[in-house]
């Protein structure tokens, strides 16, 4: 019986219905406005793109939004003068396992208004794509690279979506997924062999190699011209 409660709790969390661990926040602007003005304004502005609102751990506001309007919502949250969430504290993801969609989590803080907000976006496993917010906050650049590296969520529009923590040619997958075993997919000997056999050029990014290539080609050119003299 305990199984059912937990299964239900997870199912409800992912589908957006509030459940155990959250406090029910009554619908309606009045309940929201006094305690946290953002949620009421957000609902007024974006209507049904705001799927769900909950209060976690006593005082943390969590808003679940639809994936296709997530960037518009985040942009509004950043730019609207009454909201001004100018500090993006974190971008991360949660894998619940068992084929459930990933949760992409944005943690926001407004320095002028001293308010926090968590925005969640559900990302299905069969289409792990989201839009980048690195145009809004420069912080998101590396944070989204880490989400790509660890979870495999691809960010459309990201200027430089490469692995950041794992080596560039890492072939075992995306480590923080629940179906990724703790010790990795290959044996230790194989992991050792692969990493020591990595060519040095693979540790540089494309732009860096382009600079090195430019230098090399210039030297080749000048050597040729000197030889001909």
């Amino acid at each position: 019986m305990a199984d059912e409660t937990f299964e239900e709790a997870i199912a409800d969390l992912e589908s957006g219905r509030s459940k155990a661990g959250e406090q029910e926040v009554p619908a309606g602007d009045q309940a929201d406005a006094g305690s946290h003005p953002t949620v009421a304004a957000l609902r007024a502005e974006f209507g049904d793109a705001v799927l769900h609102h909950a209060v976690m751990a006593g005082d943390e506001r969590v808003v679940r939004v639809s994936r296709d309007r997530a960037v518009a919502i985040l942009r509004w949250l950043k730019d609207d003068p009454a909201q001004e969430y100018d500090f993006l504290a974190d971008v991360t993801a949660v894998d619940w396992g068992g084929g459930r969609p990933l949760d992409l989590v944005y943690q926001l803080w407004s320095i002028p208004h001293r308010r926090a907000l968590r925005v969640k976006v559900s990302v299905p496993l069969d289409d792990p794509v989201a839009d980048t917010v690195s145009g809004l906050w420069k912080t998101a650049n590396w944070l989204e690279r880490e989400v790509w590296d660890m979870f495999g969520i691809r960010f459309r529009g990201h200027p430089d979506l490469r692995r950041i923590l794992m080596p560039e040619g890492y072939a075992e997958g995306h480590p923080l997924r629940k179906d990724f075993p703790l010790r990795g997919r290959f044996s230790r000997a194989e992991q050792t062999r692969r990493i020591l056999a990595t060519p040095v050029a693979e540790t540089y990014s494309e732009q860096e190699l382009a600079v090195a290539e430019e230098v090399r080609s210039h030297h080749r050119g000048s050597a040729g011209s000197e030889a001909s003299e």
């Binding site: 709790a9 459940k19 661990g21 959250e22 943390e60 504290a89 974190d90 943690q107 926090a116 480590p175």
Partner: protein, 423 residues
Amino acid sequence: MSTKTVEYLVTRSPELNAEGVPVHAEFPLGVEPELHAEHMLINIGPQHPATHGVLRLVLELDGETVISCTPHIGYLHSSFEKLGEYRTWNQIIPLTDRMDYLAPLIYNCAYAMAVEKLMGIEVTERCRIVRVICMELDRIFSHLLWLGTTAIDIGAFTVFLWTFQERERIYSLHEALTGARITTSATRIGGMMADLPVGWIEALRNFVETLPRTIDETETLLTNNQIWIGRNRDVGVIGPEEAINCGLSGPNLRASGVEYDIRRDRPYYDYETYDFDVVVGEHGDCYDRYLVRIEEMRQSLRILDQAIERVPEGPINVADPRVILPGKTDAMTDMESMIHHFKVVMEGVKAEPGESWFSVESSKGELGMYVVSDGGSKPVRWRVRGPSFINLSALPHMVVGRLLSDVIAVNASLDIVLGEIDR
């Protein structure tokens, strides 16, 4: 032979343009023969004395001027977050020491606070004040190391020895409290691993009273030293809007003039009742970051002074049987206590389904701990928002257009620790 006009970026007092980005004054230095010079690609690290750990910087240089700087990280990736999913709530605490090994008590406390928020546990008054003492002590601990290593990067070796001598005294305090010098693992869910040993407060009081002299001596060596000023003033400038947008936090952000300190804006553990100043700089250069940290050490000493006076008698652990083990005498004599002990140890502490984000002002910036639980004894997700990860991502914005040696100075002034970056 053709000639070209060479321009250099020179800053005296940078103005900020509309976006809050510093505008460097450019002026031509004259004409030089046109030498075909291509850019150089050099690699600093990951094994390098001045990168503060296994950081790799790939710089594209035009002579000595930095055209682009790309940090490569991941050379210390120890997958703490994945490992945390396989450990019970209390077993994660030793992992938190090893992320920011320069201020382990702050991480221990921040993690315990996040899980206690998730579980709705209120720790005792004594525990709260002891944790404030631990966090402020480790803030000083971390800043002392930063001071020593930054000075040695710029070339001042003596400061390194002095700060390490002071740190040895904090090591002794750590060791008396927990048994370990660095990897303290001092907190537990619901309290601390052990109460303060007899005489610890007196030793701490002695430390607090004598440290200011060392800080003063160090300041006489550095603060008005023309070499120090020349290497640090107007180097690595970042304006306030750009700093916020880049996600800088802690002394780095405050040195740019942004008054954001979590101890004041989102206070925890009665920080609003302590009398201390939030130290804010002005120019956002390395020199201001240095001044901010020095002053922060003094403010931490002020907080420690007040906290030492406030430590009450009473239990250090909350009397909550869900999380705290019974006393050993009880466990050995009373059946119920023994069963309770067995359950807590074998099954682990269980948390209700839910999640919690807890931010703490660590020595490096905003340390965020995000814990997600599905009702079991191990987390579904344990995310650490390490401030150094994001502080480092702002490095390229600060060094483009500067000279190579400025890269080292700026990198040092950011106060990064690779354990927290790579996790």
